[in-house]
Every structure is written in C-alpha cells, then in structure tokens.
Amino acid sequence: MRSGNQVLIQAKNLRKYYELRRWTSIRSSKEVVKAVDGLDFCIRKRETLGLVGESGCGKSTTGRLLLGLEEPTSGEVLFEGENICGHSREVWRQLRREMQIVFQDPFSSLNPRMRVGSTIEWTLKNFDLYSKEEREERVGRLLEMVGLEAQFANRYPHEFSGGQRQRIGIARALSLQPKFIVADEPVSSLDVSIQAQILNLLRDLQKELGLTCLFITHDLRIVKQMSDRIAVMYLGKIVELARSGSLYQNPKHPYTQKLIEAVPFPDPEIESKRKRVLLSGEVPSPLNPPSGCRFRTRCERAEPICSEEDPVLRDSGDDHSVACHFV
C-alpha cells in the first residue's frame, strides 16, 4: 500500500488559539479558545490518515492549518521537509497546486452562477495552464474520472444531486494533480447509498493517482474503511494514533474505547451481545479545558496525576501512539 515511509506533510507542535471578546455592560474580557493545542503527527506519502473526533474537537481546524487556510498561533507545518508557515501569499498560491480540499457541503461549495465546467476550469486558468481547448478537454476527462459525463460541464450546480455535486467537488480538487488532499467530512451530508459510492470513488482515485489524504470525519464506521492510520482527537489534542486495524481491535486510550463502544454496528446479533459502559457527561468547553489530561473529567481511570500532568503522545510500539498516563 505504501512505498517506503517517506513523510509528505508533518505537523510539529501545531497550535491554533482563537481570541474571543466577551462584552459585559461595562468592559470587555478576553477569552481564548484553544481549538488545536499542540499536535504532532505526520502523513506519509500515498497514505490516508483518518482524523476522527466529536464536534468541536478541532479536526477541521487541523485540516485548514495544514492547507494554510489558517495561520497557526505557533508550531510548524512541514511539507516535503520544508516549513510552509508564514510564507507570502504568492508562495502559498503556488503551494496550493500541490494541496487541495474537498469540502463537506456540496451545496455551498460550488458557485451556483457558474457552469460546473467553468468552476473546474478556473483552477487551471488560475495558474495559466494549457490552452483553452486543452483545458476543456481536461475538464471533460476529469468529469469522466469521477463518474460523470463530459457534457455535464455545461450544466449548473442546481441541476445535480448532492452526490453528483460532491463528485464535481472531487473533480475540482483533482484538476491540478495535487499531491495532498484534505477531505473534510466529504460524505456526511449524503444518504447512505450515495455515501458508499463517493467513498469508493475517493478510495479508488487515491490509489490510482497515488494521493496522500487527510480524511476528516466524525463517523467511526467510515474512517476505518477509508484510512491506513487513524488519529483520534479530543479537545484540540490527539489522544491516540494507530493503524486503523489495530485501533479497532486494540484501542488503548479510554476515550477511543468509549468512542468505539458507542458506535452502533449494523448487525442486531452483535448489538444485542455488546456490553456498553457509556461515557458520562459531555465534552467540556474548549474555553476552559480541564487541567492536565483533558479527558480526565469523563474518564473512569482518572487519578490525581491526571489533573496535574498533561500526558504526551507516546509510541507504545508497533506504530501505535497513545496519550495516557496508564498505558
């Protein structure tokens, strides 16, 4: 599946804080949301890294940081070994030929007043690539590659269903032949039967074109299917990172265990036998996260050390890293 272990993109102690101003009647106070708080991970060439977590855990922010759509508060993103944070706009513009994104909502991510052919062609025009005829031919081929017909280029987005629009979004992302793609919840607005079509398409294209992917999702059933390795996030931090098989068979972090226990399996035989100890409570506010280990307020194993010391993500062998004091 993977050729060597070369790293394509790497995050080093990546942080993104947002400042919020709260106004009371007489004064304003500043609060800080730590959306992403110290991430260290890498994505190897031709690999898909799945990023899962509940809403508000910072998974989308992570994707946007890697693509330079957000400026990190601190830390580095290395793309092919080079730090790409703090580059000028022009350098970034050129870099984005190498890295593209597939958005969640296929309804708002396509311009309703542009024919889909022109939407895709724009990316090529933007970099002055090819002649007009060549561009049109390429657009046709891209549409065919994602399972649509070349003449659909003349239609407007409203003439397509959600699944078809998502295919167009994928065609647009692939038009510049990027090396790296971030897919941010690409199927969560689609129906189950269409979801499977799009997931298969993404997987096939990824293999065929040798793409490196960051696959962001909240759905633990999908992420196993799509990823080589999976990172589990909780309140801005990665709590566990492992190969997808071993994450499911042998989840080590208490949060990952609870998360997998909570997922309903589409099989009543399994469901009736599964024992579930549910995770109590809710995710604390990222405005005021717990000290030490952020999961300790909901963790059964929590002990005094958890509130004092923040566990670091440690490799416990076999490509499996966990951030917990008790592993």
Partner: protein
C-alpha cells in the same frame, strides 16, 4: 398482543405547482404495546411524513392525507375533530423531533415548556406542573434539575436540549412515542446516551416507540421490528434479526451492504447505483425501485409489486421474492 396503532393504506400527498408529490403512497403497518418499530429510509422517502401524518401535523395546503385509516386503539385518528386530536397530541402520542435547538421555544425556560403540556392535559396548576417538570428533568438525567429548569434552550447543549425534548414528550405518560431522527444532530457518545435513555423509558413505562432514522446501526441496537421505506412505500418489514440476516428486497440488501461494518473486514463497500427518484412523477405501472435495481426482470416493468408475506411476520414488496 393488542395492536396499539394500526396504519392502513395511508396516502399523504403534497399538491405542488410542479405536480403531486406522493410523499406517502399507500402504506400499512401496525405497532403493538411496548414494541419498538424502526422506520428507515433515505432522505425524501417519506418517513417523516408518516410520523407527521399520525399526529395530523401535515401542513395543509399543500399537503393532505388523501386516504387511509390510522387506528389508535381501534379509533380512527383521521376522523377526529381538531379538539379531539389535541387531546391525543402530547397526551397519548407524543413526538421527539430531530433538531432540539430549533424545536424548543427560545423565549421560554425549559421548565415552562415541559409544564405547558402537563397543565394542558392533566389539569395541573402552574406551580405543581413546574415541580413535576423538575422531576421529569431528573428522570431524563439532567444534573441539578431544579436549577436547569430555569435555563433557556440557548444555555443548554444539544444533548441537554434533546433531553428536555424527551422530558416534554414523556410528561403525560404517552402510550406511543414517535422519535424522528432523535440523535442525528448529536455526537456518537451523546447519541449512545440518548438511546440508552429512550431504552430506560421504554422499559419503565412500557411505551411503544416508532423510531425514524436513516441509520441501520441505530435500528440494530434499538428496535424490535423494522420497516424499510423507499419512495413513499414500505418495501420490506420484518423482525430486526430476521431482516439483517435474511433481507428479501434488493434495496434492503443494498442498504445493508453500503454501511461499513467495523466488525467485518471489507476491502470495498458495495453501493446502490443511481439516485433516489423524484416523487412528483413516478410512473404508476412499474416498481418504484426499478431504475436502481440490479435484479429487475420483465414483471418489474409492467406492474407494481404488493407487500406480501415471505416468511413468518416478514413482508417484502418485490416480484423476485417467493413465499
């Protein structure tokens, strides 16, 4: 066991400028006391319209229940007057909606909203209704309920709002609870909590539940029987174990194959080709699933199959299935 609710040949159509949208087009099912029936299907298949038809919440115009009977303990809901139906809503049958943050009233405190139904249906005065509301909030697992009863919806998280909605729904001990995608807007861990809460309610009050969802995983966890809907019709209805082990309809099989099952190693998902149909101009003379069906043959093009028995309490709507 006695049938609590029976729906016979229900048709709910929407009369739009572009044509007649047959959201529900002739469906039959029943639910017995203490049972949980799942209705699954993709968006636009008419599953929510079924729920709203039962409570007569169809916006009219453009919608209208064209024909059929909905029998609650033998009495036809569709023949009742507006006053009588108000006696049923929230009292005998209540509903939990998908998005709790939009269905709760933002300008009333949680306790007031729960109390409203208790005052209306059970003749409580406001003060004792408030006390009962606090008790209900405790039952649905809200911490420090007497304080939270004063909270407004925007002060509560999505999961908490859904708990408030459930408290409202169970306030009058209804015999039937209709839950329309109750966990779709929530995270998995919260979803598991809410499903567990609904299970507790079902066991302690022997409430029947109709659970409407698109997620076959939730059905597997929660339901006794399941109806698969497509294009306004029930294509298959069976016991949960039977349906997953032995699906008769090609659509059910396709749906089951297109969800990744983490317990099984699969290299590739199987998907159903094509897209759900447009319900405004479905051809009457052929099977609704025909354009997407891998197993279609000549009878499918010349008539619509009926829902027939294919096994013990297992019905399917396909020409291919034999008894």
């Amino acid at each position: 066991m006695e049938k609590l609710l029976e729906v016979r040949n229900l048709k709910t159509h929407f009369f739009l400028k572009t044509g007649v949208l047959k959201a529900v087009d002739g469906i039959d099912f029943h639910i017995v006391e203490g049972e949980t029936l799942g209705i699954v299907g993709e968006s636009g298949c008419g599953k929510s319209t079924v729920a709203r038809s039962i409570l007569r919440l169809i916006p009219s115009p453009p919608g209208r229940i064209v024909s059929g009977e909905i029998l609650l303990q033998g009495e036809d809901i569709l023949k009742k007057g507006e006053d009588e139906i108000r006696e049923i809503r929230g009292n005998k049958i209540s509903m939990i909606f998908q998005d709790p943050t939009t269905f709760l009233n933002p300008v009333y405190a949680a306790g007031d909203q729960i109390g409203e139904g208790i005052v209306a249906h059970q003749g409580f005065v406001k003060k004792s209704a408030w006390k009962r509301a606090i008790g209900l909030l405790r039952d649905v697992g809200i911490p420090s309920p007497s304080r939270q009863a004063h909270s407004y919806p925007h002060q509560l998280s999505g999961g908490m709002c859904q708990r408030v909605m459930i408290a409202m729904a169970i306030a009058c001990n209804p015999s039937l609870l209709i839950a329309d995608e109750p966990t779709t807007a929530l995270d998995v861990t919260i979803e598991a909590q809410i499903l567990e809460l609904l299970k507790e309610i079902r066991e302690s009050q022997n409430t029947s539940i109709i659970l409407i969802t698109h997620d076959l995983g939730i059905v597997a966890r929660f339901c006794d029987r399941v109806a698969v809907m497509y294009a306004g019709k029930i294509l298959e209805i069976a016991d949960v174990f039977d349906l997953y082990k032995n699906p008769h309809h090609p659509y059910t099989r396709g749906l089951l194959k297109s969800i990744p099952n983490p317990a099984v190693e699969t290299e590739k998902l199987e998907s159903i080709k094509g897209q759900p149909p447009d319900l405004t101009n479905l051809p009457e003379d052929r099977c609704v699933f025909l354009p997407r069906c891998e197993e279609a043959y000549s009878p499918c093009r010349s008539g619509r199959p009926e829902l027939v028995e294919v096994g013990p309490s297992h019905l399917a709507c396909c020409f291919r299935t034999k008894r």
